[in-house]
Structures are given as structure tokens and as C-alpha cells.
Amino acid sequence: MENAIEVRGLCKDYGTFQLQDVSFTLPRGSIMGLIGENGAGKSTTIKAILNLIHRDGGEISVLGMDCIHHEREIKEHVGVVLDESTFHDMLTAHDVEKILSKIYRSWDSRLFRQYLDRFSLPENKTVKTYSKGMKMKLSIAAALSVQPELLILDEATSGLDPVVRNEILDEFLDFIQDERKAVLISSHITSDLEKIADYVTYLHRGRVVLSESRDELLESYGRVACPLDDLKKIDRKYLVGCRKNRFGCEALVNNRREIQFLLPGLTVDPVTLEDIMVYTVKGDEE
């Protein structure tokens, strides 16, 4: 089975910001989290996949098709949720249903109503009266009712409370039960991605720092807290980033097992995706 998304050597130059040689692969049946600090290039990458911007180089294939030559065909099978509500304040969920049913061939009105019920979204109230969480749920209900093979979500859970976020993440996990489907989700909230993502691609200053399976990533990376003298014993090739403090330092290493084998005296703790992000940025700065 072909991959849901293949991005190879994607480049985009905005003058002040460049997306450089971005490559990653999202297999079907999985969820990929796109992480990175503000302005790292997450949204630009998603825009390039959706042809919302013109790329300067590279190739992108979605659902096994070239994303430029088969744009319409691809978009029939892609559900999209962008970072802010995209429906007009004066529209109701009923209006949204009427509009989108005329745009997507595979639109399922019955499914949409089921999601409205599940998310407790009133059908005849205007979007203006919805809370932020409700607006996001409406966008997600709409994206899922397209019966997509691929869901692309740009910061879909940002700004939502943990209860709503969990509810939404559960929907994505349900969605992925069908192994022909896939989800690409960008988020600042790395703890969300730790819960659901099978793969993680980390963008930093327009480049892919790493793109690996979440389990392998969390298994291989580790955090070392030690005096500065001990840090010098660690081969630089294992060091990703370091934070100095008055007691010594904390460092992120990219091969936990190897460090533990080579330096048994050092304690190497497990890390979170947030640690990896923070230390990489720190390491880059230093």
C-alpha cells in the first residue's frame, strides 16, 4: 500500500524564512505529529502539501498521487482542519452541511449529524454563538464527514481545554482504526502528540531535525543531569543540546543505551517530546 504522504526535498523561500529540504513520509494507518517552535515551518509545510503556496523545489505526493497534477482528486479524499475556525459567524451547522454537501462528492450528511450529536453541537445556532472548542469540533465534524482517507490538521487542538482536546484526540484514534487512513497533525502541544502520534517530525528553523517513530524516538533519546566535568566525557556526537545551571548541567543525548553502556556511572532519564524540542533549540543556540 502506498504512503499517505511523501514529501521529498521541499523548499520554499520567503526571503526572511526558508523551508529547506524538508522530507518525511507518513505511512497509511498511522498518525504523524509535526512539531516545532513558532515559525519553524509547520504551517508552511502543510500549506505546501495542500497547494496553498507555490513551492520552490521538491516533490510532494499525497495518497500516491502528485499533489499538483492530481490536486482535485486528492482533495476529494482529504479532510482539512486549519488553526482557526473557517466557517463564517453567521452560518449554522445546518448551513455548513448544505454547503459542503455540494462541494464534496463523498460527503455523508448522516455522519455529519452523528458528529453534531456526539459533540453536542446545536444545528440551528450560528457559529458566532459557539465557544472556541465548539467551533473546532464543528471543523473536525466537517472534515470527518468528507469520509477522508487523510486528515490534515494544523494546530487543531491549540487553545482548547484538556477535556475537549482529549475528546478530539480520541476521534483521531478512532479514525485511524481503518489502516488505509492517516492523520498529519501539527501542534505545539507535544503531550497530545505523545498520546496519539505513531511518527514525529520535528521542524526547526525550516529544516527537519528528526523524523522518526515516536516509540523509537522516546526510547533512544535521554536526559543526563551531571557536573560539567562528566559532560565532557560524553562523545559530542551523542549530544543534542545542553542547559547549564549552577549545579552542573542537563544535556539531551540521542543514544540513551549507548551512553549507559559507555558511562555506567551516569544516570540517563527518559525524555518527552517537549524535552527534545527545548534542548534542540537550546543546543542550536549554543
Binding site: N51, V80, L82, S85, T86, M90, L91, D95, K98, I99
Partner: protein
């Protein structure tokens, strides 16, 4: 694409109701003899000019453009839908004025239906031409900037037309009869050609736009 036209019409629902109220008030005033009946057609031009621009403003407010371009209709469908909306709004307003003109002619024996319909035809053409001029600007610059540009363009056009008419009047210039008969057809050609040209330009501009 019909979904996008429907979206525009649904978004304009409330505004449409307000405009109908305004037209209703002008109708009453026209019947009361305060205004000439032809004011209704002129009003229509102003309103049809404002409605497509309003849809762009609402789209910007909702950040709809990116989402719409991510749908199967794509950029070309978005442009097509806006032109269809402009046609639908102008056509709807034209139909309304057509019916009103007939009612006026039935009620008021002094009203000349032919003259009213001629003003309506002219207004429809002007409305479509104004839309043809403004739509590419809206696609290129968005609603806010286009509004200012459009005001300047309208002012320049008004000064030019007013100047030409004054100069022609002072110079004693009169349109020959043969040419006068061809004017309505030339106007239709101008409107259709202008709209087609404007559509091509908008497609090109929007295809290049970074969303």
C-alpha cells in the same frame, strides 16, 4: 462550486434583507413622488457593487480562503464561484427591478415602461461592468485595499465621463443615428467582453496568490 455560491448567498442573507428594506423605502418614496422611479435601478447598481465586495470581507474575517482552496474546488473554483455570485446577485436584483417596473407601469399610467426598462438595462450593464472591474482587485488585494482603490477608480471614471459629456455638449457633438442604434448592442458586447476579460485576469491573479 455551487456550494461556494450557496455559501456566498447564505452569508449575504442578512445584508440582503437590509438591502431589500432600503429598496422598499425608495419604492415608497418613488410612489410618493419624492424620487423618479428610475432611482430603483440606480440603487440596484450601488447595491450589486457592494454585495460581492461584502462576501470578500466576510471570507477574510472567517479566514475562509485557505480552507476553500484546500477543498476539491480549488482556486479556480473559488474564482468561478465569485463571478457566478456576482451574476446571481445582479440578475436577482435585475429581476426584482423588472417586476417592480411592470408594477409601477400598471399602477402609474404616466410612467413609461420603455424608459424604465432602458434605465434598468443600463444599470444592469453598469453593475456588471463595475463588478468586472472590482473582482480582479478583490482577488489581488483583498477587500480592504480594494475598497480604497475602487473609490479612486470610480472618481477617475466619473471625472472622465463628466468631462467627456461636458466637452461633447459644449462642442455640439451629437451621436449619429446609425451609431445610436448600435449603442445597446455595443454596450452588451462591452459588458460581456469586460466580464470575460476580468474573469481571465482574476483566474490568473488568484492562481499566483500565496494563501
Amino acid at each position: 462550486m455551487s456550494g461556494l455560491v450557496l455559501k456566498d448567498l447564505l452569508v449575504l442573507r442578512k445584508q440582503g434583507r437590509s438591502y431589500l428594506l432600503i429598496i422598499g423605502i425608495y419604492m415608497v418614496l418613488a410612489f410618493a413622488g419624492v424620487f423618479d422611479y428610475s432611482i430603483l435601478s440606480t440603487m440596484m447598481v450601488v447595491l450589486t457593487m457592494m454585495l460581492p465586495m461584502a462576501t470578500f470581507s466576510y471570507d477574510e474575517l472567517a479566514r475562509w480562503d485557505k480552507f476553500a482552496a484546500a477543498m476539491p474546488v480549488g482556486r479556480s473554483g473559488i474564482v468561478k464561484a465569485k463571478y457566478l455570485t456576482a451574476f446571481a446577485v445582479t440578475g436577482g436584483a435585475g429581476l426584482l427591478c423588472f417586476v417592480v417596473n411592470i408594477i409601477v407601469a400598471m399602477i402609474d399610467q404616466e410612467a413609461q415602461l420603455g424608459a424604465l426598462m432602458a434605465v434598468l438595462g443600463g444599470s444592469l450593464g453598469a453593475g456588471l461592468l463595475i463588478n468586472a472591474a472590482i473582482l480582479p482587485l478583490l482577488f489581488k488585494y483583498g477587500a480592504e485595499k480594494s475598497r480604497s482603490i475602487m473609490m479612486v477608480v470610480m472618481l477617475v471614471v466619473f471625472i472622465l465621463v463628466f468631462g467627456l459629456v461636458t466637452v461633447a455638449g459644449e462642442g455640439g457633438f451629437a451621436v449619429p443615428n446609425a451609431m445610436a442604434a448600435a449603442i445597446p448592442w455595443l454596450a452588451v458586447l462591452l459588458v460581456l467582453g469586460g466580464f470575460a476579460f476580468s474573469y481571465r485576469v482574476s483566474q490568473k491573479l488568484y492562481a499566483q496568490k500565496e494563501l
